[in-house]
């Protein structure tokens, strides 16, 4: 066991963690932040995508122990004060959600993408979410939602 302190969605947490525990399981099982999903456990599907120190990562392949001192963003922090982010709203409006299991990881990848590239082309959006499997939607409405969110971001700028 080892003690770690980290910041998740702006709040500080200090916990004893098993050293073999993945960050994903720490979030889900130790902290009850179950919004982040596990789809394969092997870094292929992207369902566990979170933003760690400003970079999107597969949390199933990160150890909780490594994350000591990190700043994490998960789906639970995407909406602020009960209001969906522009990206979440766009997903809602474009019916970019079906079963919803890939959705948290997808939103986190797209959030990271729009930070790096506020006005991505369709092709750049596809690059940004290529690491997130979705078995339901066929991606089209997700791509449309991200495009809409990026334009909206621009018009608000």
């Amino acid at each position: 066991m080892r003690e770690i302190t980290l910041t998740i969605n702006g709040e500080s947490y200090t916990r004893e963690v098993h050293e073999h525990r993945t960050l994903l399981h720490f979030l889900r099982d130790d902290l009850g932040l179950t919004g982040t999903k596990e789809g394969c456990g092997a870094g292929e599907c992207g369902a566990c995508t979170i933003i760690m120190n400003g970079a999107a990562v597969n949390s199933c392949l990160v150890l909780a122990a490594e994350a000591n001192g990190s700043v994490l963003e998960t789906i639970e922090g995407a909406a602020k004060d009960g209001t969906l982010s522009a990206l979440q709203s766009a997903f809602h409006e474009h019916h970019a959600v079906q079963c919803g299991f890939c959705t948290p990881g997808m939103v986190m990848s797209a959030t990271d993408l729009l930070r790096r590239n506020p006005n991505p082309s369709r092709d750049e959006i596809i690059d940004g979410i290529e690491g997130n499997f979705c078995r339901c939607t066929g991606y089209e409405q997700i791509i449309e939602a991200i495009l809409a969110a990026s334009k909206e971001g621009k018009s608000h700028a």
């Binding site: 969906l84 959600v97 079906q98 499997f133 066929g138 991606y139």
Partner: protein
């Protein structure tokens, strides 16, 4: 149930409406079974078979039992239960013999997942390997080992299926229409070919997961990521010989199903662990790898089609033979076989037909329902065949199809008469053709060919499917009015992403005359509290539950109006309502609000009438029959949804690499309830179909070991794999007994995509492909006229990826 309301007077049906579940899912607040823990809950792991077929000589659990924190271990010999919906052929854990790679042999429940895994690793199993039977055609041979020597002891649904004890045939669906032998004599051409496809995994993003608590006094509670709470409960109770009121099934949000979570799955195994652990709740989450082999897949199919064509291009006769490889257990595959059998000719008018569809046991992971229920598989062969026949007889493929489509006056293979309201396949085909500019290349496409050196090909294919379900399939919707006059709908159809609950919300709001914001459709289905629904399968949810929702709304209004008539001292016939109140038509100021009526109306002096308002809508499939076992004649289809895909591809004629440029999918949905959801179903299913078409499939070695049970070697489409351009178009030929004229479209989008790709590649390059998926290498081999590669069972002469077979032409 068609409500003949002009489209411009509809307030909610057909209008853009938000999904009711997307905010919960977008914020991570939607809770799936995989997210749940219960007090004192144990974690389970499963020991699975490394062999395709082996005798279990011994299982020693002593070392596992000695591990601190291991609370329960179960093995097959201690469990005397059998599971199944149609053919009851599966034990909870392998008994005596393992029948497929990945089959569950033992399971451990422990305080932590880590300890459970240590327990599984400490179990010692001695196997005596036996020769597996891997290919369905081999399994039919007289000396083939029997996968189920005890087949004669199994119970099954006798009205529909025909297991053949002493063989590996779990079912033989027969259909005879007209006289094919006589018709073939009148044919100008007879063309016969064989088409194949491997097993495929559903890949729901949430793997199978269940929590079960076998409580005091045999009260069992099951939380499961499942499609069908009531059928799950029914099969569970049947297997364990328990009263239905003892067992409660709860299904919260579900992370995808696609058929793989229909029926019953890992729940009985988790239940016996909980029972053995003294009633502590136990959770089992399938790993992604287990999802491929412990859990079921889609069956492999070998499809032989022999078609006779008259001089003018009319199909006169077809002999259709399907060999469905069910794998080790055929419970569900028998019904895939049956549903595909009666649908086997596609949306075409076949006056003389002979269908023989066999469900065959082999020593492989077992097949179950998968979006399309057999149609994705056989439409690969059928629509490839339509193109190859057209080419062989010198007709343009779309013209050939249009000449043979079903229409008013024609009859289906089972003898059902097609009417003007059945749907319009001709219009679907024509619309798809138009949408991709089927007949020639645009100037842009010509320029692209010139620039890339790649050859562009286009294809249009047709499709149809009816819900595959028992003739007595039924559902209920209950509407409860809340104190403020809003309503809550309860139903046990499960919305695991399709969006049906949003459609039900729109339908209820439409029929009540309420705003959609006044109607809640409650997520989480609970067999103790919600009314019955058979299963969430077969694209039947919208039609059956939609109708039940209309009936529930009408019942609620009738009940409300009755109380209002007393409250207002008016005749019920003189009352009308809006979304807030019921009023007297000729004295609108004489009114009572729904809020005043919701839990019973109280007069000013305290006298009260009515009581809490509910509306009940029950609906059962109308007029369906079992099929005659010898002729297959009867009425199996509550509705037929027709559709077509137009597909444009560019192919590198040197390497076989290709890019799908455009897919337009067209469906006759009767009536669009929610345009965005129709689009989501259409495009989502199309890409899933493209996955099947391009890259997905089980690969075994000669010992029957599955070689690609993970995302490393079983790829599924990513965003990068979406065609450059996609679109979906709805045709609306109202279904007379559909809610507001609607019919289902959940599965149809996946059907026919593979054939559209194969045909378009052939149009571009002349590569003749008869096996899917179509990998670049397969196209290359077909173009090179090389021996087709066979790695679906490596180094076996069977199950091959036959990319360049000969056309068998019969002299006439």
């Amino acid at each position: 149930m068609l409500e003949a309301i002009p489209a411009d007077q509809l307030k909610h049906v057909g209008k853009k409406t938000d999904r009711i579940d997307s905010k919960a899912k977008l914020t991570g607040q939607a809770t799936y079974v995989s997210d749940m823990t219960l007090p004192g809950m144990l974690y389970a792991r499963v020991l699975t078979s490394p062999h395709a077929r082996a005798r279990i000589v011994s299982i020693d659990t002593a070392k596992a039992e000695a591990i601190p924190g291991v609370r329960a271990i179960v093995v097959g010999d201690e469990l005397d239960y059998r599971l199944g919906l149609y053919v009851v052929d599966k034990a909870i854990l392998a008994k005596g013999e393992v029948r497929h790679y990945g089959e569950a042999v033992a399971a451990v429940a422990a305080d932590t997942l880590e300890i459970a895994e240590q327990g599984v690793e400490a179990i010692e199993v001695v196997y005596e390997e036996l020769e597996p039977v891997l290919h369905p055609l081999k399994a039919l041979e007289a000396d083939a080992p029997l996968v189920h020597p005890d087949l004669s002891d199994y119970s099954y649904m006798e009205a529909a299926f025909t297991p053949q004890p002493g063989t590996n045939v779990a079912n033989h669906t027969k259909l005879r229409k007209g006289d094919t032998a006589k018709a073939f004599e009148e044919c100008e051409w007879i063309i016969e070919r064989r088409y194949t496809n491997p097993s495929v995994q559903h890949v729901p993003m949430e793997t199978h997961v269940a929590i079960v608590q076998w409580g005091h006094d045999d009260e069992v509670t099951i939380w499961s990521s499942a499609q069908s709470p009531f059928t799950l409960r029914n099969l569970f109770c049947t297997a364990f010989g328990m009263s239905h009121q003892k067992v409660r099934v709860i299904v919260p949000y579900v992370g995808g199903g696609f058929g793989g979570k229909a029926g019953i799955g890992i729940e009985p195994l988790v239940a016996v662990l909980s029972r053995k652990a003294g009633g502590r709740a136990v959770k089992l989450t399938a790993t992604r790898e287990q999802e491929f082999s412990l859990l079921p897949c889609r069956s492999q199919l070998t499809y032989n089609i022999k078609t006779g064509i008259r001089e003018d291009g009319r199909i006169l006769a077809q002999e259709l033979t399907m060999y469905w490889d069910s794998g080790a257990y055929a419970d569900y595959a028998v019904n895939v076989t049956r549903a595909s059998g009666y649908s086997a000719g596609g949306p075409y008018d076949i006056p003389n037909a002979k269908v023989d569809a066999y469900t065959i046991y082999t020593n492989k992971p077992f097949g179950t329902a998968y979006r399309g229920f057999g149609h994705v598989e056989f439409f690969w062969g059928l629509e490839r065949h339509m193109d190859l026949v057209a080419e062989a007889i010198g007709m343009e493929p779309l013209e050939f199809r249009l000449k043979n489509t079903l229409g008013p006056g024609s009859t289906t293979l089972t003898g059902e008469k097609i009417t003007a309201n059945t749907g319009n396949i001709t219009k679907c085909l024509q619309t798809a053709a138009e949408a991709i500019g089927y007949r020639k290349l645009t100037s842009k496409e010509k320029a692209r060919e010139k620039e890339t050196g790649l050859k562009i090909g286009k294809a249009v294919v047709g499709l149809h499917k009816a819900p595959a379900m028992p003739p007595f399939t039924a559902t209920t919707v209950i509407l409860k009015m809340n104190e403020d006059g809003s309503v809550t709908a309860n139903l046990s159809l499960v919305d695991y992403g399709q969006g049906t609950y949003t459609a039900v919300q729109q339908i209820v709001a439409e029929r009540l005359g309420f705003d959609v914001s006044q109607v809640k459709v409650a997520f989480e289905s609970d067999t103790d509290r919600d009314p019955y629904d058979w299963q969430t399968v077969a694209s039947k949810g919208l039609l059956l539950s939609g109708n039940a929702a209309i009936l529930a709304a009408e019942d609620l209004l009738k009940n409300a109006h009755e109380v209002a008539a007393q409250a207002l001292r008016a005749q019920a016939v003189d009352l009308a309502h809006d979304n807030e109140k019921i009023f007297v038509r000729h004295h609108p100021e004489s009114a009572v609000t729904f809020a005043q009526l919701a839990i019973g109306y109280a007069f000013p002096n305290g006298n009260s009438i009515g009581g809490p308002l509910v509306g009940v809508g029950r609906y059962i499939a109308q007029g369906l029959t079992h099929l005659d076992k010898e002729t297959g004649q009867g009425l199996p289809a509550i509705d037929w949804t027709y559709g077509a895909h137009g597909l444009t591809v560019e192919v590198d004629r040197e390497t076989g690499e290709y890019n799908v440029l455009k897919v337009v999918s067209v469906f006759d949905v009767g009536k669009v309830i929610n345009p965005d959801e129709v689009r989501g179903q259409a495009i989502g299913g199309m890409l899933q179909g493209l996955g099947t078409a391009t890259c997905e499939g089980y690969i075994y070695n000669e010992q029957g070991r599955l070689l690609n049970p993970s995302f490393t070697d079983n790829k599924i489409p990513t965003a990068r794999d979406l065609p450059l351009e996609v679109d979906a178009i709805a045709i609306e030929t109202p279904q007379i007994d559909g809610p507001y004229g609607a019919r289902g479209v959940g599965e149809h989008s996946m059907i026919g995509v593979a054939a559209a790709l194969g045909n378009a590649i052939q149009h571009a390059t002349k590569a003749e492909l008869t096996h899917m998926p179509i990998r670049y290498e397969d196209v290359w081999r077909a173009l090179q006229k090389r021996e087709p590669v066979d790695n679906w069972i490596t180094k076996s002469p069977y199950g091959s990826c036959r990319s360049a077979p000969e056309i068998i032409k019969h002299d006439c």
